[in-house]
């Protein structure tokens, strides 16, 4: 089949955002633990079993039970000070952190959202283990409102909630799912926007604007992972797909692009189903155990599957679907790929289908045998799934149901964003039925006195804030925006406050432009910790190093060639030399190159500058060398003249 050209503009894409931003509070939302990373230094652990409850996943109960039997045992890691009995679900939650609540109320006021009269803490069931209790505590603070975005008039706000962050998934063993409790309970604001249409870059601008509004409050965390977007995407008024866990704006563009393509592809596949009049009864009307056919197969993939004595291979007849499973209406989107993802969610390795076989060591003969067994006609297709018999039995019914659903195009589901910007199936969408009241915490009345007080503290708008930064630090607009958008704004303010000899513009440009260009070369900027940055600029402030050295030290550390600033300075031989030494070195260069000066006169400065820089790079400011050289050459020419 011919690959259709993908025309983004002809599609009606609607995108709704849910932004989750960690708040920068001292303590967690429901206890007094600190909001800090444990960085792997856990000192205790315990094991829990979460039980699925009937209604959480709606009609997808079997998947929940499967998840439960597959990974029912969860191991939690804790660290004293960062988690207590509350996170361990061994003590009822304490009262809501007032400072977190105030921050969210401020956002509600800034977005003209209607604050509820009395806030009720709810439990949202989540049984993947990311919450020890089996639910996430969340409260609706306000509804409605709007966000002003350049290019759009106003974007509607749906709701603003205050909730607790989930535990952090750790790389885990086969035996247990493992989570760190340090992140559990950190306050998050969740802001959901009304769905909007627009080009990906316009939509990214909305996310950027909202992110900036939150950051301009200076009451939110700024590190990597402290902001996460969930994006709801629908194409041509189809079903809404929720994509979770988009962490960066660059990733968002890719996710929007991929998900639009994917949904477009699914619509095209559904059209084919329609054309071919595929009835539900066509799908999986015959299922045959074909394990015996492959007893002596030389296919390495099948051998691997059948190594386990409890494994089986099943073939499934799909009438009328010949050519459709491998059909690629748009680059990279195939029914076969979707199904592979689907069964992987259930712990199988993947699927084989008739459009791609013979391949993977499955021979022409094997294919013919299967076709005969299933009674396949030329218009029919088949699927092979293999693995542990118990798993196969669990996956079979949802799989067939899923294939039937392709008839309807896009299916409402929750997917997760991958780092490369695509999305993979994670679970069916959960409904409102998974919410029930948190009976351990009394409802919180929102006093009008409090709101009146908070109205004085509403964060500045983005534009006002940038203007304020420009004025305060004498930065240009571009640098003001860059430094504020970067993760280094707080440290920038800190360094500026202790620097007399370095201009804010210099600090800001090093922290933005230079770090960005270094990280473009795949260097790791996370190695530039706050302490390291402070130490580098402190060395500069005290005159120990030259301005040129700052970037050199950054590079040395980001390349992991030096572990500390001291080490970098030593290995680069950057200790600034004093004027006496400088004069000695320059005089020597002058003497060594006297013939050049005699020949070229003042124009010899270029050549001499080059030679000097080789010796003095990083130890003396370039302009100073230039200055001194110029004086010395002039004097030299002068002296020669009067000789």
């Amino acid at each position: 089949m011919i690959l259709m050209k993908f025309d983004f503009d002809s599609l009606k894409v609607k995108v709704g955002f849910e932004i989750h931003q960690q708040l920068d509070t001292k303590n967690k939302l429901f206890c007094n633990c600190k909001c800090e990373e444990a960085n792997g230094s856990y000192d205790n652990n315990f094991i829990r079993i979460l039980r699925p409850t009937k209604s959480e996943l709606g009609n997808f109960d079997r998947a929940a039970i499967f998840e439960h039997t597959k990974m029912n045992t969860i191991k939690y890691y804790s660290k004293v000070g960062l988690s207590c009995l509350v996170e361990a679900d061994e003590e009822p939650p304490h009262d809501v952190n007032r400072s977190a609540l105030e921050t969210v109320l401020l956002f509600s006021l800034a977005l003209n959202s209607n604050i509820v009269d009395e806030i009720h803490v709810m439990r949202k069931l989540v049984i993947d283990g990311s919450n020890t209790s089996g639910f996430q505590r969340t409260m609706l603070v306000s509804t409605g409102g709007n966000l002003k975005v350049d290019g759009f008039r106003k974007i509607g706000v749906q709701s603003i909630c205050l909730e607790e962050d989930a535990a952090k998934l750790l790389p885990h063993s086969k035996l247990y799912k493992e989570y760190g409790l340090d992140r559990l309970g950190i306050p998050l604001v969740e802001i959901a926007l009304e769905p909007i249409s627009g080009k990906p870059d316009e939509i990214v601008n909305v996310a950027l604007t909202l992110g900036r509004l939150l950051r301009s409050s200076k009451r939110v965390s700024r590190g990597l992972g402290s902001i996460r977007q969930d994006v709801n995407i629908s194409v041509n008024d189809g079903k809404v797909v929720e994509v979770k866990g988009v962490q960066q704006l660059s990733q968002l563009v890719k996710v929007l692009d991929y998900e639009t393509k994917r949904q477009y592809g699914l619509i095209k596949i559904a059209e084919e189903f329609e054309k071919r009049n595929i009835d539900d009864g066509f799908i999986g009307d015959r299922i045959q155990d074909i394990t015996y056919l492959f007893k002596d197969s030389s296919s390495t993939i099948l051998k691997k599957i059948l190594k386990d004595a409890n494994s089986i291979l099943l073939s499934i007849r799909l009438r009328g679907l010949n050519g459709l499973i491998g059909y690629e209406p748009i680059n990279g989107i195939r029914l076969g790929k979707e199904l592979g993802e689907f069964v992987r969610f259930f712990g199988l390795g993947g699927i084989f289908h008739s459009d791609e076989l013979p391949k993977y060591g499955v021979t022409v003969k094997d294919v013919e045998n299967i076709k005969e067994l299933l009674g396949l006609s030329n218009s029919d297709a088949f699927l092979i799934i293999g693995g542990n018999e118990k798993k196969i039995n669990i996956v079979l019914e949802p799989l067939i149901r899923r294939i039937r659903e392709f008839k309807h195009g896009v299916v409402a589901e929750t997917r997760s964003a991958t780092m490369d910007g695509s999305t993979i199936f994670s679970r069916p969408r959960a409904g409102s039925s998974r919410m029930y009241p948190e009976t351990d915490i009394l409802p919180i009345p929102v006093e009008s006195v409090l709101l009146d007080d908070l109205k004085q503290k509403i964060p500045l708008s983005w534009n006002d804030l940038i203007r304020q930064i420009m004025k305060k630090y004498e930065l240009n607009i571009k640098l003001s925006e860059h430094i504020f958008d970067s993760q280094y704004y707080d440290i920038f303010e800190k360094i500026v406050s202790t620097s007399k000899n370095i201009t804010p513009t210099f600090i800001a440009s090093k922290l933005t432009e230079d770090v960005v260009s270094l990280s473009r070369n795949n260097l790791d900027k996370s190695l530039l910790t706050d302490d390291i940055l402070i130490e580098v600029f402190d060395n500069l402030e005290k005159g120990f190093i030259a301005k040129e050295s700052v970037t050199l030290i950054f590079e040395k550390i980001m390349k992991k060639e030096s572990k500390s600033v001291k080490e970098a300075i030593n290995s680069l031989n950057l200790i600034k030399i004093n004027d006496d030494e400088l004069h000695k070195i320059l005089d020597k260069i002058l003497n060594d190159n006297a013939h050049v000066i005699k020949e070229k006169g003042i124009n010899s400065i270029g050549a001499l500058m080059g030679k000097s820089m080789i010796m003095l790079r990083g130890k003396v400011d370039g302009y100073k060398i230039n200055e001194y050289l110029k004086q010395k050459i002039e004097r030299f020419i002068n002296d020669e003249f009067f000789k």
Binding site: I47, R48, E118
Partner: protein, 478 residues
């Protein structure tokens, strides 16, 4: 946590007790009630949702609605402009009320009729699985939540129980039976009588392989002590089970504790009164404690129940049970149910008095105004109180009150011969209770008071080990 601890059994359709005066009048005014789908217009905005019940302890100025998103919010009555019913009765949800405490005055006596499920008298169904009677008394083992409304209801039949805990059908046939529904702090000695009579009936006339009693954890150890004295020489195991996290939570410990009890009943050969709860914070190992040697030592942790001075009687692992039989009086399962000694009455004229530095001894004079016959004096250390108390104690003993000494140390044994103070107290006639816990001592004293004919007999009973409440040897436990 407390509010969800007990299920409310009244499925109200009126909600008349949930909204008080102001809010109730408002709902009446707009002719809407709890469970109705409504559109509510306030001067802040419009909301659509379902009217939810409100805890009686909350203040009266808000109406709670559940929005379509699932969130509950409260709307100030002062801000409400109008409420209209969205659709008529067909969509009106039958909202079960959130659990509320029952205010029924307790008159101290129960009649033994309402609990018994007479169907079980006839030979049980032929299933080869062990048969277990599950008596519910108000614990959170068997309750389920209505996710739409947040209300909690008790599970009263086996099919509901199996639908929540499908795995238990692999181990046993469970016969759930409602006995009463109380927060465990609201229990009286008369509840112990009712429970022990029901168990006695089941042992003598029904054919269960074991009995599980679901019980609130706050006083589970008092009840287990009470059962241990009221029902001696049991032919089958009776296991009390509690949970620290209610069973409507995915993280509830109810199921693992229940399963631990079922495993103990079906896979070991012991009879008597036991308590099953978590051994640690992990959902891994269940500890099975002797009914008289257990105490709630933590307000909220899963392993709040701990054996005192001895190892738990059994540790129940995933596929393995390890029993520790250092205690003398453990019976093995047998068919001779007629050996049961059932003495189910208690006399609550017993007072538990905790001594502390600064205690005013003249307080002891007030006992002359009360009916108390026994005082359990919880002394310091090895069993001491300030010497200023001596004359008052002497007066009380002279007046016929029996005074026993236990220690507030939780662990260890009362030994009053070591120091002068202890020896003087012994001379006054204060009777030491060795390593019996204060909680067990007060229960035993209530039972002994009711089942003895004179003071000498009472003291004799108190100082005789009947159910492992007294032990001669304290094992070394790290």
């Amino acid at each position: 946590m407390k509010k969800e601890a007990t299920a409310n059994l009244n499925n109200s359709d009126s909600g008349k007790d949930d909204y008080i005066s102001r809010s109730k009048q408002l709902l009446n005014k707009y002719k809407v009630k709890i469970g109705d789908s409504v559109k509510l217009i306030s001067n802040k905005g419009d909301y659509t949702g379902i009217i939810m019940p409100r805890y009686e302890s909350f203040n009266d100025n808000y109406v709670v609605i559940k929005l379509n998103s699932g969130y509950n919010i409260g709307i100030s009555i002062d801000n409400i402009i109008n409420i209209t019913s969205e659709k008529l009765s067909e969509t009106s949800v039958n909202v079960s009320l959130n659990p509320v405490k029952t205010d029924e005055p307790h008159n101290g006596k129960f009649v033994l009729t309402k609990g018994i499920n007479h169907d079980i008298k006839k030979p049980l169904l032929s299933s080869s699985l062990p048969k277990i009677l599950l008596l519910t008394t108000g614990g959170t083992i068997a309750s389920k939540i209505d996710y739409r409304t947040g209300g909690v209801t008790s599970i009263l039949n086996a099919s509901d129980l199996y639908s929540i805990f499908p795995e238990i059908s692999n181990y046993a046939s469970i016969y759930p039976e409602f006995l009463f529904n109380e927060y465990s702090e609201n229990l009286y000695a008369s509840h112990w009588s009712l429970l022990s009579e029901r168990i006695s009936y089941a042992v003598l006339h029904e054919q269960f392989d074991g009995i599980i009693v679901s019980h609130g954890t706050d006083t589970i150890h008092y009840t287990s002590s009470a059962m241990s004295f009221a029902l001696q020489n049991l032919s089958i195991p009776v296991v009390l089970v509690g949970s620290q996290r209610s069973s409507d939570r995915p993280s509830s410990d109810a199921f693992t504790n229940l399963l631990g009890a079922i495993k103990f009943i079906t896979k070991t050969n012991y009879a008597g009164i036991f308590v099953c709860m978590h051994h640690t914070s992990s959902d891994e190992t269940i500890a099975c404690h002797i009914g008289t040697r257990v105490r709630k030592n933590h307000t909220s942790k899963r392993n709040a129940l701990q054996s005192l001075d001895h190892f738990p009687f059994a540790l129940i692992y995933d596929s393995d049970i390890v029993c520790n039989t250092d205690l003398k009086r453990i019976n093995t399962r047998n068919n001779i149910s007629k050996n049961l000694i059932s003495k189910t009455s208690f006399d609550d004229r017993v007072f538990l008095l905790k001594f502390y530095p600064g205690f005013d001894p003249s307080f002891l004079e007030c006992f002359s105004n009360f009916k108390y016959r026994v005082i359990i004096l919880e002394g310091t250390g090895l069993g001491h109180v300030n010497k200023n108390c001596f004359p008052y104690l002497e007066k009380l003993i002279d007046s016929g009150i029996v005074i026993f000494m236990t220690s507030q140390c939780i662990y260890g044994r009362v030994q009053m011969t070591v120091y002068d103070t202890g020896r003087d107290l012994l001379d006054l006639g204060v009777i030491p209770l060795s390593d019996m816990s204060s909680e067990t001592a007060i229960v035993k004293a209530m039972w002994a008071l009711s089942n003895s004919s004179n003071k000498k007999e009472l003291v004799e009973i108190m100082r005789t080990d009947l159910s492992n409440e007294l032990s001669n040897t304290s094992p070394l436990i790290s």
